[in-house]
């Protein structure tokens, strides 16, 4: 969450029957050809449970893989995404600051809704010339008919007065001319560009919550990552859309694999210290490192359980790198794995807090495994190649990870992001555009994945929808790696 600032007032909130779509969602993996892919649709009907059904003989076992294994999300196909029109907000005062703040607000709101995966934004080129800033100004007929053919309309006004920024925003169901008002909000804060961004994020999240089946939007979430732009690899943070990139650690060494706690108060990471690789803990509230015990050996890849009560990490304190659990203060240490071959990169099932996925080199090249939180029932998930960086989807049913499926002399293959259904071990390839793609991390709404890609020439942070679409680059300066999406 972005630290709260300013005030927020609800002017109208109507859990309108047709507005809040039933609280369910489905993710379906099918094999599609190119033409189908372009017209695939997304539905938010179904259940909060993500059901994974594989149609056609795609990806059964280790049969030939094809780069055409695109993901189609939705169950009740044929139900189109809500068409939402979002005209620019109107200035509510004559303050000269308005223009710049309006641009920031409008761009942020548009992007938040565009990448949400929940609505289809109507192109601004179809909008009528008359744009409303206040409810009395709404002409529903101008919006619900062609060319815009919108189902919903988000509009409002923004203005600065006496150093204070105020935004009023509304969501209207323009197909319901009787009672179109769904949502009205007013935000107020000391005027600044950052405040304009926060207000846009909050408003976008309100819309997404209503149109996205009751799941919280991610517009105020944070991404933590590693950047070397200062000359050393340090831990950085940024808004989920790439704004507000800021340095967190100043250790001047090599700091890697940040993982923020579920409550957003601390970031665990690994750092090269005088006594070797240590797990370190940084308090975002106190703005400094807090103590974590020296474990001995090489300590890497800390991971939080979904309830914040446990940490898992890799440690070679007992000889070779193995998976351990501990409580967040480093006490209550338990060793979970004993196999020869490095064990690293554990991640918890945040839904049950009782399973861990991890990487093991016990058979040679690294593979993905799962096990119970006490180390029992270790199961191998990948069947070949080089598989690393597992990340468990919020619904507990999918793993995302990085995979080079083909390995061998002269055939380095490509490192791409994959999704796998844990129950069936069926998998789908998500990235297809070249580069080395690694370190996928799920957004809390389960709809987005942030990852590292070298497709632009060097390692940068990118996001995409969990079906591989809406790929966006977030970082551009230095080398940026190992992203981790916050939990809220």
């Amino acid at each position: 969450m972005i630290p709260g600032a300013g005030t927020e007032e609800t002017l109208q909130s109507d859990f309108y029957r047709d507005t809040i779509l039933p609280n369910q969602q489905s993710l379906t993996f099918t094999r599609m050809d190119e033409s189908e892919r372009r017209s695939f649709s997304h539905s938010t009907r179904g259940g909060w449970l993500m059901a994974f059904a594989l149609i056609a003989a795609c990806c059964l076992g280790s049969s030939h893989l094809s780069a055409q294994d695109w993901v189609k999300t939705g169950t009740s196909l044929g139900v189109a995404k809500v068409r939402l029109a979002v005209p620019d907000f109107k200035p509510s005062s004559g303050d000269p600051q308005n223009a710049a703040l309006l641009k920031t607000f409008d761009d942020t709101l548009w992007n938040d809704l565009d990448v949400s995966g929940v609505v289809e934004l109507v192109s601004k080129s179809f909008y009528p010339l008359q744009v409303p800033g206040q409810p009395p100004e709404v002409n529903a007929l101008a919006w619900n008919a062609p060319p815009p053919n919108a189902g919903m309309l988000a509009f409002g006004s923004l203005g600065v007065a006496s150093g204070k920024l105020t935004v009023q925003g509304w969501l209207y169901d323009v197909k319901n001319t009787q009672s179109p008002q769904v949502l009205g909000k007013q935000y107020s804060d000391t005027s600044s560009e950052a405040a304009a961004r926060v207000m846009a994020h909050k408003f976008a999240d309100e819309i997404i919550f209503r149109l996205g089946g009751g799941l919280n939007g991610i517009a105020e979430t944070q991404i933590y990552f590693v950047s070397d732009r200062t000359g050393h690899k340090e831990i950085w943070g940024m808004d989920y859309d790439g704004s507000n990139q800021h340095q967190i650690t100043h250790l001047g060494s090599i700091s890697l694999s940040p993982r923020v706690s579920p409550d957003g108060s601390r970031v665990a990471f690994a750092s090269l210290t005088k006594s070797g690789w240590e797990i370190m803990m940084y308090s975002l509230e106190l703005n400094r490192a807090v103590s974590f015990p020296h474990m001995g050996g090489t300590n890497l890849t800390p991971a939080w359980s979904g309830d914040g009560t446990k940490l898992a990490f890799s440690s070679s304190r007992g000889g070779g790198p193995e998976i351990y659990t501990a409580d967040p203060s480093g006490g209550n240490l338990h060793r979970l794995t004993t196999a020869k071959g490095p064990e690293v990169s554990p991640v918890w099932n945040r839904k049950t807090n009782a399973q861990i996925a991890f990487v093991s080199g016990r058979t040679g090249l690294p593979q993905i495994y799962t096990m119970e939180g006490d180390g029992t029932n270790q199961q191998r998930m990948t069947d070949q190649g080089y598989a690393v960086s597992p990340n468990w989807a919020p619904n507990g049913q999918f793993l995302s990870f990085a995979w080079v499926r083909k390995y061998g002399p002269g055939d380095p293959g490509a490192l791409d992001i994959y999704l796998m259904d844990i129950a069936s071990k069926q998998w789908v390839q998500l990235t297809h555009d070249g580069g080395r793609n690694d370190f996928p991390s799920w957004s809390p709404d389960g709809r987005h994945i942030v990852f590292q890609s070298s497709r632009s020439g060097k390692e940068e942070i990118w996001t995409m929808l969990a079906d591989g679409t809406k790929v966006q680059q977030l970082t551009f300066t230095g080398r940026n790696t190992q992203p981790n999406w916050s939990w809220k």
């Binding site: 690899k233 090599i254 890697l256 694999s257 690994a270 090269l272 070797g276 690789w277 050996g297 090489t298 890497l300 890849t301 890799s314 070679s316 000889g319 070779g320 790198p321 490095p342 064990e343 690293v344 990169s345 990487v359 080199g361 040679g364 090249l365 690294p366 080089y386 690393v388 960086s389 990085a402 380095p412 490192l415 690694d438 370190f439 790696t481 190992q482």
Partner: protein, 243 residues
């Protein structure tokens, strides 16, 4: 002078003359018979050139005598009345020549100072760290592997030998990986590589307490080209002198 002083002066002269003559006359002995001329005394001289040498060098000893029939130099023995000789004593010495003849004997000396050779210039002592880097061999690994290859055993043995000979040296083994592969997995793999080298050295008899390990994964490569030659360079246990 006036007439009166002149008279006095002449009187004193006369009196002095009478006294002196009288004295002389008193000492005078009756003239002895002329003695037969004595045999001439021997002369001797000796010199050494140069008169300062360094140990190991030679000098030339030269002497001259006359009226001598028996000439000897201490430490050398009887020598010709005139001559020269090369000498190369190891210590300072005084050459003592004795020349004897019917007229007596005469001695002469010459001093030869022998300075010790200057100490040899100190050889530049090779530092332990230089010795280490000249002799220690790194251990190279196959892709994704952390076991010590057969063809690396000789390097391990050589390192064991060197570290045994230099029991005062301690080392750190760094585990490195090539650029392919993921950051975190490579750190773990590097950890295993460093441990493997440490184990191999311990098996050879080097005390484990002399060996620290650290993994750098692919974070500190030795080269950055994307080809097998460079990748092999990076897949190694790198031994570092612990100061």
């Amino acid at each position: 002078m006036n007439q009166k002083s002149m008279k006095w002066f002449l009187l004193i002269i006369a009196l002095s003359a009478i006294l002196m003559l009288g004295a002389c006359k008193k000492k005078a002995t009756p003239p002895p018979p002329p003695p037969p001329p004595p045999p001439p005394a021997p002369t001797a001289s000796i010199s050494v050139s140069p008169n300062t040498i360094q140990a190991g060098q030679s000098a030339s000893l030269t002497w001259q005598t006359s009226n001598a029939t028996d000439v000897s130099i201490d430490g050398i023995g009887a020598v010709q009345p005139n001559g020269s000789q090369s000498v190369n004593p190891t210590d300072s010495i005084t050459y003592h020549l004795t020349a004897k003849g019917s007229g007596g004997s005469q001695e002469a000396t010459a001093r030869l100072t022998v300075t010790q050779a200057p100490p040899p210039p100190p050889t530049t002592s090779v530092s332990d760290e230089d010795l280490f880097s000249q002799n220690i061999k790194d251990v190279y690994f196959d892709y994704d592997k952390s076991d010590v290859r057969g063809d690396q055993q000789s390097s391990v043995q050589s390192d064991v030998q060197f570290l045994t000979q230099h029991g005062n040296m301690n080392i750190t083994v760094e585990g490195h990986c090539d650029e392919r592969g993921s950051t975190d997995y490579n750190l773990a793999l590097g950890d295993q590589r460093a441990a493997a080298v440490k184990n191999a050295l311990s098996s050879g008899g080097i005390s484990a307490s002399r060996i620290k390990t650290i993994s750098y994964g692919k974070e500190k490569p030795f080269c950055t080209e994307s080809n097998e030659a460079c990748w092999q360079q990076n897949r190694r246990g790198h031994l570092v002198y612990q100061k």
